[in-house]
Chain length 302, copies 2
């Protein structure tokens, strides 16, 4: 093969690896276990070994290899990763380290934050493919997001754009966020936040009971949807994307949540954005891998 | 002269006209009265007459003339203006109409929303010149805004990006906004909103009395600053700009307002944005004219 591309999404538990041919079609998918020992210092070594082994299978040499990597932390404008708490990383120059490990030019690597990668993946190859701009909100243990305008992730000056979870959205809530502030959306509408609001062991239980018609749980779902709908309405007033995408584990709750989010979105949005679709992500855990490989081309262009 | 450029900012009362040479240096400045009779149908005719007269003085023919126009309304992606209430306009294709009036190719005109133009003006030639991205909030009778990333205005899919005034920011306020919703920032922190909160005839009186140490008025200023600081913190979580710019008539209140906005911004912002500067605009009423002319080059590039 003349060219091989990797889309690698580094998570706290597993590393999702996609192998793509020169037409950027997926030809192989693997999962590595994330080795978090010694502050995650084996992670890049494991990835390098995987790349070497896989490239060999496809008869590709150093000059043929391109890899996009998504990381669970901030990526600074120079591509250096600034802290990935879940991996144990401090400052890590991923492209430089992989370049040294593999003997490949560092320009053949592109690094992106994982939430931005997920949004870029959905934009390129998922539910956002027919839109020019999307804002994706990922609701899991925490709340993250990614903003894509004209095919390019908007990452922000400090790498903190689309950090929707840390919007100060509530006036009167005392929960302190992991970021040190209060009133963050994440404290109200993440899986953790939902379970706490309801006094249940997890968010799934809340939605399951709501689906059986439990009044108290339906009220919790309504409240969570109100915060999320309002957050999207606020995002519309700031960037007015063509489409909103909802992803992450909590989005699996389905229409019982998304229908109410749409209701509160329309109630709160400035009228030009009233018809903006709010849709569910489709790529699931593969989104980051797709976005990571797509980012290789975006970084090349600059 | 080989080339003449116009930056024309069409307001509800006056039309501000800047004439620029081929190096985009300002060489002349004029003001026309906005003729709002007959649903503003004379406005473009008056502008065409002004352009013809001025180009003649500088010995420029049709092929040498470029004009950027800022309008107080939404501009759709195809450049057509969709409603300017203050001018009496419905759907107006400004570039096409001027092209017909002047016998100049429509590609020599570029149309932009006035709040985006003001932000672009400050970004290019004002207080934002040393930053890569800025979000400007303009606080006057209403609240508008403009977002510039990498030199380009982010206008939004419906032309409604940076409509900061219509962020649903307050939970518990009953004032109905002109847009039909409640809880809009504009109802709390525009000149109109400030005067109403304080029960005074205008916002200037509120700030003047606060400056003499009046406790009740100081509390109003603090409340207004709280909403504005929180709004900027929210914007930081969405787009993380390198700098915030505060413009419009209310910004003339000075440090008594901006110092408190900065305080509440820092209190509410997600930590990566905590050092983002919040500065005052410097171009005043000329910002739109500068942004309008700058937009000629941005539209050309696409």
């Amino acid at each position: 093969m003349s060219k091989i591309l990797f889309g690698i999404d580094i998570g706290g538990t597993t590393i999702k690896c996609g192998v793509f041919d020169e037409h950027v079609s997926l030809i192989q998918k693997d999962e590595l276990v994330t080795d978090k020992n010694d502050n995650g210092k084996n992670i890049l070594r494991d990835i390098a070994a995987y790349i070497t082994k896989t490239a060999k299978v496809y008869n590709c040499g150093a000059g043929d290899i391109y890899a996009g990597l998504a990381v669970p932390g901030s990526v600074m404008p120079d591509g250096v990763v600034n802290k990935c708490v879940n991996l144990g990383w401090g400052l890590v120059d991923v492209a430089k380290e992989l370049s040294e490990l593999l003997g490949i030019d560092s320009s053949q690597f592109a690094v992106i934050n994982d939430a931005n990668a997920a949004a870029l993946g959905e934009y390129w190859n998922g539910c956002g493919a027919k839109y020019e701009s999307i804002l994706m909100i990922t609701i899991g243990t925490g709340i993250g997001g990614g903003l894509i305008i004209d095919g390019k992730p908007v990452t922000g000056y400090n790498g903190a754009a689309a950090e929707i979870g840390h919007m100060p959205i509530a006036d009167c809530i005392d929960y302190k966020c992991t970021c040190g502030k209060t009133g963050c959306l994440e404290q109200l509408a993440s899986a953790t936040g939902i379970a706490r609001l309801a006094g249940k062991k997890d968010a799934k239980t809340v939605f399951d009971e709501a689906k059986t018609g439990d009044k108290a749980m339906l009220e919790i779902v309504d409240k969570v949807a109100m915060y999320l709908g309002k957050a999207l309405a606020i995002c519309s007033a700031v960037v007015d994307p063509q489409c909103f995408v909802i992803g992450g584990g909590v989005s699996a709750a389905g229409d019982i949540l998304t229908d109410r989010i749409k209701y509160y979105y329309r109630l709160n949005v400035f009228h030009p954005g009233k018809d903006t679709p709010v849709i569910r992500a489709v790529l699931g855990n593969d989104a980051g891998m797709y976005g990571a490989v797509r980012n290789v081309f975006i970084s090349e262009k600059e």
